[in-house]
Amino acid sequence: MTAPRNGFHAARWNEPLIQDLSEPGARGLLPGAVEPAIRAGAGDALARVPAHVRRAAPPALPEVTQHRVVRHFTRLAQMTMGFDVTTDMMGTCTMKYSPKVHEHIVRAARLADVHPGQDPETLQGVLAILYRFNRMMCAIAGMDEFTFQPASGAQGIYTNACLIRAYHAARGELGRRDEIITTAFSHPADAATPHVAGFKVITLMPGPQGYPELAALEAAVSPRTAGLMLTNPEDTGQYNPAIRAFVERVHAVGGLCAYDQANGNPLLGIARAGDAGFDLCQFNLHKTFSAPHGAIGLGCAAVGVKEPLRRFLPRPVVTLDGTRYGLDDDRPDAIERIRAFLGNVPTVVKAYAWVMSLGTEGLRAVAETAVLNNNYLLANIRRIKGVAIPWPENTAPKLEQVRYSWEPLHNDTGVTTMEIEQRMVDYGVQHYMPSHVPVLVPQPFTIEPGESLTIEEMDHMIATLRAIAAEAYEEPEVVHHAPHHASVARVDDGIANDPATWAFTHRALAKKRAAWSKPRSAAAKRHAGY
């Protein structure tokens, strides 16, 4: 039996913000003086920058020596538990190995230095990739046209809602079709974004098998139904085998069906949204198609539609007139643009490279391996004391992930899933995903191994969970007060979630610090000692 990793300790540096390291005059290197002839020949370089994009004053960059800059970022990297140093099986996120060569490709000047404002004649290579990958995605999903404009999964799902709205509006039916149906274990964006698009939302709660029964849909469909927006498999990893009947029922009342394939990893090369009757769908290229997501990657949701919805896709659409690629901006029926220009093109290029390297058989192998890995984990994790599998009567294999429950362990020991998540860091394992909200499964944890893990990594994960469960029963204090070997102990979620207490930029931070120095709010008081 594999042993958990003992003796791990994260690096801990009390590292200030780089702006706080700034010392006037400090430099990384000092370039030599420009020769007078060159200076004269170049003239006033700044004058060549158009006035409207020229800064009035130089940027307030920190002044730091080179070795201190390198140490600063190296220390931060050391304190970061990323995929490059340890395993990540975060459920609902489809974390997978992303070939490093893809970073090299997209950082090369031929992609990094082009601008979407250029004449399309000078962007033929980029447009060729976008056009070709569009055709590939159509083949993978059974659709007729894709857009890569949305920059996140939620934006992709919002795009689905906007397309459904545009379709009914064009038919003059929007006023009387104002309800979108989703399911409780679909991604919360399937409920949230139709609200933003102006729809009412009806959420189907799970039936005895863990997914909604057709009878639940029956209670929801009506002439008011604008569409169905759901994931399948849902976040529980359970596949609704009646999905075709769901689609037919919604079509029968005139609604559209949008397949959120954020959980699409187990479907590649096996099942296609179009074949199941869906009118539109979306994949997250930053999950399923290997492009990194989170802090190191740019998101991209690929939204695909069947022919009747094609005219509603946001502009521009990449076209091919036989020999030259172009951008079609003249689209009177199109929904408003979701994102500027063509979206995050580097992410599309990474996904294109990934699909090209795998081929049709490779994509199917991805899905099969991900499902096999997940069921290997399930077979082992279900034997850990304190773990329950929700809906035990559903004995069908799970697909790419499982939402487990620590409810028995919590009732026996008082230890919570969040505490176990913290304790995992002490074993050098990244956290797991507990659950999206609302939390319908008590003390949940969601694990998705994907296809790129080795069996040793999965065994290590199982051993870690088993060791922590044993600790919970034998010395729960150790788990209650974890982590003990992490860079940072507990982060106050309240501060992390409160817009009054976080800042994305140093300029915003400076403003908020000024506000904190004049205590007014509870948030300010929490920061009095900053």
Binding site: V201, A219, P476
Partner: protein, 355 residues
């Protein structure tokens, strides 16, 4: 300042259940249970909870009386009430009690909503929402409360009529509400500054329900905090425990009995019946709102029933179905199946209802 926990143990709680009796109300039942070999366990359950709490919060101060009753000596509800009152007056931050629904009722009588209350499950029946799932889960919830990760909510105190229960009939009553800690992370990140999550959710739900009632439509509102919010959205002030009849922003029958409702329905053909799930059990009809009898429900019409619950309330049921128990099996069957539940502004859930 270290948190202060007041502790009340009902030493005879749970005795009946261990020997197959359906409760421990009454001196004879205690004597019979002890004669049958029942061993008191409430004290041990509380000790387990306190040890687990201490493991999390070493600074917690435990306050209790010096009462050491002999269970056989005939402790009774009055002892629970006196102990709880003394602790509430001593200013404890949380009143932790071990017992069952009967004990919860006594705590309600003693302290009402003056002090936060949390139940360590040790009784035969625990239908009240004030109970944690286990002693250690109670410790976890108490620690979360002291750490600011749990908010206070009004929680139902339910109890069965034990005489009826032993005779094979189930009859649950809603006795009132205590304030108890409840985890907010079921629906959102904890401690999100400035976002009054559950209050905002309740306001949205209430506005949605109110918008469905046209002018002149009489509405029968069931008991509970959800219906109180609906009444407020309608511009009326309803009783928390009772069933009230509201029309055009005015309460036209306060704390109505079945006969009052039937009388009102005799002249109102378009009445709506609006109810919320009760407690942690998910009952929408037949428990806690028996005034809404099967005849009242039939008179209103099943298609004019509105069920409402916030997402947090539905989540707290942990994917169990909603329940009906009207005492009329034909009606229960008609109510069972899938039903739309209003969950917020422009939001509904389709939930399974079982008889």
């Amino acid at each position: 300042m270290p948190p202060r926990v007041g502790v009340v143990v009902n030493p005879i709680a749970g005795l009946g259940g261990r020997v197959g009796l359906k409760g421990t109300d009454g001196v004879e039942v205690v004597a019979r249970a002890l004669a049958l070999g029942a061993v008191p366990r409430a004290g041990a359950r509380m000790a387990e909870a306190l040890a687990a709490l201490r493991a999390r919060r070493r600074d917690v101060a435990i306050v209790s009386g010096d009462d050491a009753h002999d269970p056989v000596g005939g402790t009774n509800a009055a002892d629970t009430i006196v102990a709880a009152r003394v602790l509430a007056e001593a200013g404890v931050d949380l009143l932790l009690f071990a017992g069952g629904d009967g004990t919860a009722r006594d705590i309600l009588t003693a302290v009402g909503d003056r002090v936060p209350v949390l139940g360590v499950p040790a009784g035969v029946k625990m239908h009240s929402a004030v109970f944690a799932a286990s002693p250690r889960a109670a410790a976890d919830l108490a620690a979360a409360f002291f750490a600011g990760d749990a908010a206070l909510a009004e929680l139902e105190v339910m109890d069965l009529d034990e005489e009826a229960y032993r005779a094979g009939r189930v009859s649950a009553r809603l006795y009132g509400f205590v304030r108890g800690p409840y985890r907010r992370d079921l629906v959102q990140g904890v401690k999100v500054g400035g976002v009054a999550g559950e209050t905002a959710a309740l306001d949205g739900l209430a506005a949605e329900v109110a918008s469905r009632l046209g002018p002149g439509t009489p509405a029968i509102l069931g008991p509970g905090t959800t219906m109180r919010a609906v009444a407020e959205a309608l511009g009326a002030a309803k009783t928390l425990l009772g069933v009230d009849l509201v029309r055009d922003g005015r309460v036209i029958a306060v704390d109505a009995a079945e006969a009052d409702l039937l009388r009102a329905l005799a002249t109102a053909e378009d009445a709506r019946l609006i109810v919320a799930p009760i407690g942690g059990q998910g009952h929408i009809l037949g428990r806690g709102n028996q005034q809404v009898s099967s005849e009242v429900i039939r008179r209103v019409g099943l298609d004019r029933l509105i069920v409402a619950a916030t997402p947090a309330k539905l989540a707290s049921l942990h994917h169990q179905a909603l329940r009906v128990d009207t005492g009329d099996s034909g009606l229960d069957r008609a109510l069972a199946g899938y039903r739309r539940v209003v969950t917020g502004r422009g939001a509904e859930a389709v939930c399974r209802v079982v008889a």
